[in-house]
């Protein structure tokens, strides 16, 4: 394969890793964030401070440092050996889970206390109230912030270059270094834009869906 087509193909191959990391992170960090938020608003002081500690660490240090720590540090301290993709996935899930925890917690506590009271006098338990009344309303409120995170994540995946994991940007960079052309960067930029556009489109649809009742 020659020229530009070959380049595009090579960069797309790198994108597959990027997309896999992206998918795993979204699919696991959002539920982690929901659980974290529920724990943080729960009556258990212990649970809420453990989660507070977790979000403090993961929101308070650079993602890159966390990636180094999990990829280079864990084998050193705990003897756990992770491949690059595993290390990146764990780091991203924990990091984004921390942000989602705080976003969802903010959403939950913004729901009027009257909703809890109405559910309670109808005989609903706490878990029924959360599942059926509070969380569904929270979704609408956290969509804009969640959408921001989802877009940031596309770009954050490029950080895996720091542990030399093959991804979209790293593959593009390799061609640039080899062939003295910046076209791969343009191609990479276009692919990132396509990805973020798809995500923006999905979130717009979600916002439309959830705004029918407002």
């Amino acid at each position: 394969m020659s020229g530009t087509l070959g380049m595009i193909w090579y960069i797309i191959k790198g994108s597959i890793n990027t997309l896999e990391l992206y998918g795993i992170t979204i699919v696991l960090s959002i539920p982690l964030g929901v659980l974290g938020a529920l724990g943080k608003v729960s009556k258990s002081k212990l649970l809420s401070s453990v989660i507070g500690f977790y979000t403090w660490i993961f929101r308070g240090t650079p993602l890159l440092l966390q990636l180094f720590f999990i990829y280079f540090g864990l084998p050193h301290f705990l003897g756990i050996n992770l491949d690059k993709f595993e290390a990146a996935s764990i780091t991203f899930v924990l990091n984004y889970g921390a942000y989602f925890t705080e976003i969802f917690r903010g959403g939950i506590i913004s729901i009027d206390k009257g909703q809890y009271e109405a559910a309670k006098v109808l005989g609903m338990t706490y878990s029924q109230t959360m599942r059926r009344i509070i969380l569904p309303q929270t979704i609408r409120r956290v969509l804009p912030a969640t959408s921001n995170e989802a877009i940031t994540l596309v770009k954050d995946t490029a950080l895996v270059a720091a542990i030399s994991m093959d991804d979209l940007l790293r593959n593009a960079n390799q061609i640039v270094a080899r062939e003295y052309t910046i076209i791969p960067f343009v191609i990479a930029g276009v692919i990132y834009l396509l990805l973020t556009s798809v995500i923006v489109w999905i979130f717009n649809k979600l916002e439309q869906k959830y705004s029918i009742y407002e």
């Binding site: 009027d112 009257g114 909703q115 009271e117 109405a118 309670k120 006098v121 109808l122 005989g123 609903m124 029924q128 059926r132 009344i133 569904p136 309303q137 609408r140 959830y210 029918i212 009742y213 407002e214």
Partner: protein
């Protein structure tokens, strides 16, 4: 046996004594209005009865089942969880600000608790909900969201939602205070209809005409105490307490 028997209820928020040994009994089918100045503890009393607020002393029985009790030394007596749940379930409550579930349609608001709490089959819950909605005159709005209907309509949905749990007692906390004046009538109309069906009701209200017309008894609260509990003719025309006279003169 009384539907509600509350004895010497006390409640404080910090240093503020909001309820001071309040006792109230409500017989089956009775409609009782609770009136009194702002801050006198009317809402707190209702909220204590349905356990939205934990009182600090006294005893509450619903249809003979104790749901809250304290011993002589003022310690809370642990009661069987199931009794408390059953007792509380005999009451429905309607709030000043409706508190409808905004993400659910009118019909979904009404069927939610019957399905989730009472585990009634969905079709049956829908059938009953539609009957209740036509009773409050809102069957044509069943697929609307709360944001799409007026305040008076919202409050009527809230009443239907509470009735869907088949309570024996309904508590209303200023059900018309958040409404534009022209919408008050439709909500009071629904409550009057319930009164004519002998629903046992406790209604906190500032609507004196309504209190006079439908109540069997009117309870006047002031500074955390019930200072008079009498039939409406007596309380409105010839109250024992000068403070009631002053209050009525001011608002009428």
């Amino acid at each position: 046996m009384n539907m509600i028997q509350a004895t010497n209820i006390s409640k404080r928020f910090g240093n503020l004594e909001v309820l001071k040994n309040v006792s109230l009994s409500v017989a089956k089918g009775e409609v009782i209005s609770i009136i009194g100045p702002s801050g006198s503890g009317k809402s707190t009393l209702l909220r204590c009865l349905i356990l939205l607020e934990k009182c600090d002393g006294g005893r509450i029985e619903i249809e003979g089942i104790p749901i809250e009790a304290f011993d002589e030394t003022g310690r809370r007596i642990p009661l069987p969880h199931k009794d408390v749940k059953d007792g509380v379930r005999k009451m429905g409550m309607v709030f000043q600000n409706f508190h409808l579930f905004p993400h659910k349609t009118v019909l979904e608001n009404v069927i939610e608790a019957p399905i989730i709490v009472n585990k009634i089959p969905r079709e049956e819950a829908i059938k009953e909900a539609e009957e209740l909605l036509s009773k409050v005159g809102l069957l044509d709005k069943k697929d609307a969201y709360p944001s799409q209907i007026s305040g008076g309509q919202k409050q009527r949905v809230a009443i239907a939602r509470a009735l869907a749990m088949k309570p024996d007692i309904m508590l209303f906390d200023e059900p018309t205070s958040a409404l534009d004046p022209e919408l008050v009538g439709e909500v009071l109309g629904v409550i009057k209809k319930l009164a004519s069906e002998h629903m046992t009701m406790l209604v906190v209200t500032h609507e004196m005409g309504f209190a006079k017309e439908v109540s069997d008894r009117v309870v006047f609260m002031d500074q955390g105490e019930i200072i008079e509990d009498a039939p409406p003719e007596k309380l409105f025309n010839n109250p024992d307490h000068p403070r009631i006279k002053a209050f009525l003169e001011k608002i009428l």
